[in-house]
């Protein structure tokens, strides 16, 4: 069985192409069924997000080029898009490259925002959809589960997926350094813009319950207040609300600052030392810089917040190399398991052959020893079966161990397996496996070359 990946992402395709091939939730079962019905396709999983569309397939008795071609045709047919419109943006990977790619994707290493955790849920969802459509078999299920395990390991062992990455996250983090309980904090939003709404939503997600919105156009303030479950006030009334507010998000389109030192001084006297967190995300600024020096006031403008975000991103980037090495370890584990699966048909053939020999000999014996009772025959049956199992036990165990060890150590070909085929005359039974191997020789050579070679991932654009 061969592992194939065809896909496109924000790295290779513009949004115009990605949106044409996007596969929404209700289209997914049909797409999966269509893929699974393609000749030679045994398993299929479709990972479709706003940044990528990827098709993972397990094929048998099919050349890699034929599999890629079949997937391209499926995409064109299913999405009603001519092939030339998207094929230049596709990447194709197979075997260890495909495994490595999925593990990196699930960990957020291939994401637009490095380390974002949302992709893990999407990977899990893709597997669940394929399992519901019965297109995920043992290979792809194991692969996706390995990807999930790898992503979890990275979450636990590195800080790649932790920390803030947006202005909203940074605002929440800073607010948590000031206020013990955000559910008691009151947020005053000045300017009903998209950014202020996003920041407020982040604060809401962290427990903030009281939100007051002021905007020059009262209707917009009202609309945003409704969306956030807050209260709308007229713009000219905001100074009096500063006394109750704990967090102020300023994001108006005013050309000059609307909050000055003089505005805040009487407010601060009334607040009696209660901290005031001012988030100024407007450009030009809504809050005059002379406010910085006021006691118990913490003013962060867009540059300050972006510096916070950049700091987090820098630390996250340094974590990426640790995450990459975890991915390599997990790929290695999976490749060993994956290659170990090839011993299964040899073992099955060996068992079959031994059983056949036993049955043949028992038939001859039955003719010669017809005087034996049924009870005695049962004892002979049990003894011969036990003998067969004892004979088969060591070769089977050695086959499994050797396959795994050789892969782990140097990726050498399976000499013992070849020997087993020769000794027990199992050549014909594993013919299909060999044909399959020949079809995907370059990829398999990569897998078996060495443990470290399994790490390097190459992208080939069709």
């Amino acid at each position: 069985m061969a592992l194939i990946l065809v896909g496109l992402s924000h790295h290779t395709a513009p949004i115009e192409v990605r949106e044409r091939l996007s596969c929404s939730g209700h289209d997914l079962p049909d797409s999966l069924s269509d893929l699974a019905s393609l000749p030679g396709f045994q398993e299929a999983v479709v990972l479709s997000t706003c940044n990528r569309l990827e098709i993972y397939a397990a094929t048998a008795n099919l050349k890699a080029s034929e599999a890629y071609q079949a997937i391209c045709q499926h995409l064109a047919r299913f999405h009603h898009v001519p092939e030339p419109a998207f094929t230049p943006f596709l990447y194709k990977k197979s075997e260890s490259d495909a495994i490595m790619h999925l593990l990196r994707v699930a960990s957020g290493l291939d994401s637009l925002v490095l380390g974002e955790a949302q992709i893990l849920g999407q990977v899990r969802e893709a597997l669940r959809a394929a399992q519901s459509a019965s297109t995920a078999g043992s290979l792809l299920t194991a692969l996706f589960q390995q990807a999930i395990t790898s992503a979890r390991r990275i979450q636990n062992e590195t800080t790649l997926t932790r920390g803030a990455f947006s202005i909203g996250h940074a605002a929440v983090s800073l607010a948590s350094q000031i206020f013990a309980d955000l559910s008691r904090a009151t947020v005053l939003i000045l300017g009903a813009g998209k950014m202020s709404e996003l920041t407020a939503r982040h604060l809401q997600a962290s427990g903030v319950r009281f939100i007051v919105v002021a905007n020059r156009t009262y209707d917009r303030a009202k609309a945003m207040a409704q969306q956030l479950g807050g209260e709308a006030i007229h713009y000219d009334r905001f100074p009096e609300r500063l006394t109750q507010a704990d967090i102020v998000i300023a994001s108006t389109a005013a050309p000059h600052p609307i909050i000055h030192r003089a505005t805040l001084q009487p407010v601060l006297r009334r607040r009696r030392g209660k901290p005031l967190f001012l988030i100024d995300i407007a450009v030009p600024r809504d809050i005059a810089p002379d406010v910085y020096n006021l006691e118990n006031v913490f003013l962060y403008n867009i540059d300050d917040l972006q510096a916070v975000v950049a700091e987090a991103a820098r630390e996250r980037a340094s974590e990426a190399s640790r995450a990459e090495s975890i991915v390599c370890e997990e790929v290695e584990k999976f490749v060993i398991w994956y290659r170990g699966r090839e011993a299964v048909p040899v073992i099955a053939s060996l068992r079959e052959r031994l059983e056949q020999i036993r049955q043949d000999d028992l038939a001859v014996l039955r003719a010669r020893l017809s005087h034996l009772s049924e009870r005695e025959w049962q004892a002979i049956e049990t003894a011969t079966r036990a003998m067969m199992n004892k004979v088969a036990r060591t070769p089977i165990l050695r086959l499994k161990q050797e396959t795994e060890q050789q892969m782990a150590l140097n990726g050498a070909r399976y000499d013992l397996m070849s020997a087993a085929r020769e000794i027990f005359g199992l050549g014909n039974e594993t013919e299909s496996l060999r044909t399959d191997e020949e079809d995907t020789t370059p990829a398999k050579q990569k897998i078996t070359s060495s443990a470290s070679s399994a790490v390097s991932s190459s992208t080939e654009v069709i």
Partner: protein, 284 residues
């Protein structure tokens, strides 16, 4: 086992607890990117509390052993007084930590308790004080109340100091390293307030018991002699500062940086009580 040995063991436990709290904060800070606060505590921090508890138990045993072997109250020596001060600080921290989980406060409070204990151990062989002034339940209660209020006020001062550090780094937009593990400003402010709210009645009680002992039992030839003592005057000044702090919090609702200054000045005055010359609290 001697009192000094038990105290030494308690010191070791406090030091271990400090290591746990520090390591917990350090490991969490290292495992969390950039300037962001860390919501959870590292598992190693959880060992801190049992270690503090063990230290407190050992110190209790040490003080008991000391009283039994010397047939004196613990206040008859600097060892006993310093040991009780450390005990009060550890107790105050443990209670607050149990309520609010403040490993960062432990990182500062426990070493302070260790310093007091260490100084106490150094003076454990000093001769005992023989003075009729130190006998009687009133004196014992006076000293205990004052020492426990000192323990709580030390924790309050540590919270205030951490508040100032946190306030400074937030205002400078520079929250990094282990300092990310500091509790929120509001938590530090509230903890300091709660510590003072418990300490001030104890301090008041201690001062009142002292006056009762002196004037009620006729120990003072002249009340002016006692009231002129810099030690007593400094104590009264500290008491007034804390009354002012609590009054400003309760009546005027003051919070923030300025009230932290009051607590820090109050702590300096508390320390001064130990160092100012005294005319009436000399028992040699």
């Amino acid at each position: 086992m001697s009192a000094a040995m038990l105290t030494g063991l308690a010191l070791a436990f406090y030091l271990l607890a400090t290591v746990c709290y520090t390591a917990g904060i350090f490991l969490r800070a290292a495992a969390s990117p950039a300037i962001f606060p860390i919501s959870t505590t590292h598992s190693i921090t959880h060992f801190g509390r049992p270690l503090v508890l063990a230290g407190i138990a050992l110190q209790f045993a040490a003080i008991g052993v000391w009283c039994v072997t010397t047939h004196r109250t613990p206040f008859a020596s600097n060892f006993g007084t310093l040991s009780l001060t450390a005990w009060a600080m550890a107790m105050a921290f443990l209670i607050l930590d149990w309520r609010i989980n403040l490993p960062a406060v432990g990182v500062v409070t426990l070493p302070a308790a260790c310093v007091a204990l260490f100084l106490g151990i150094l003076k454990s062989r000093a001769p005992l004080v023989e003075s009729p002034l130190l006998t009687g339940q009133l004196v014992s209660m006076h000293v205990l109340a004052v020492l426990f209020s000192f323990g709580l006020l030390t924790v309050a001062a540590i919270c205030s100091a951490l508040y100032m550090v946190q306030n400074r780094q937030l205002r400078r937009h520079h929250v990094r390293g282990m300092l990310r593990r500091l509790p929120p400003l509001e938590t530090l402010d509230r903890t300091a307030y709660q510590a003072v709210a418990f300490a001030l009645p104890l301090l008041t009680l201690g001062i009142l018991l002292g006056f009762t002992r002196v004037f009620g039992d006729g120990l003072a030839h002249s009340p002016v002699e006692w009231l002129r003592d810099p030690h007593v005057l400094t104590s009264l000044a500290a008491w007034l500062l804390y009354v002012f702090y609590l009054g400003s919090r309760l009546a005027a609702g003051w919070r923030g940086v300025r009230v932290q200054y009051i607590l820090l000045v109050g702590f300096v005055v508390l320390l001064a009580i130990y160092f100012v010359p005294t005319t009436t609290h000399r028992f040699e």
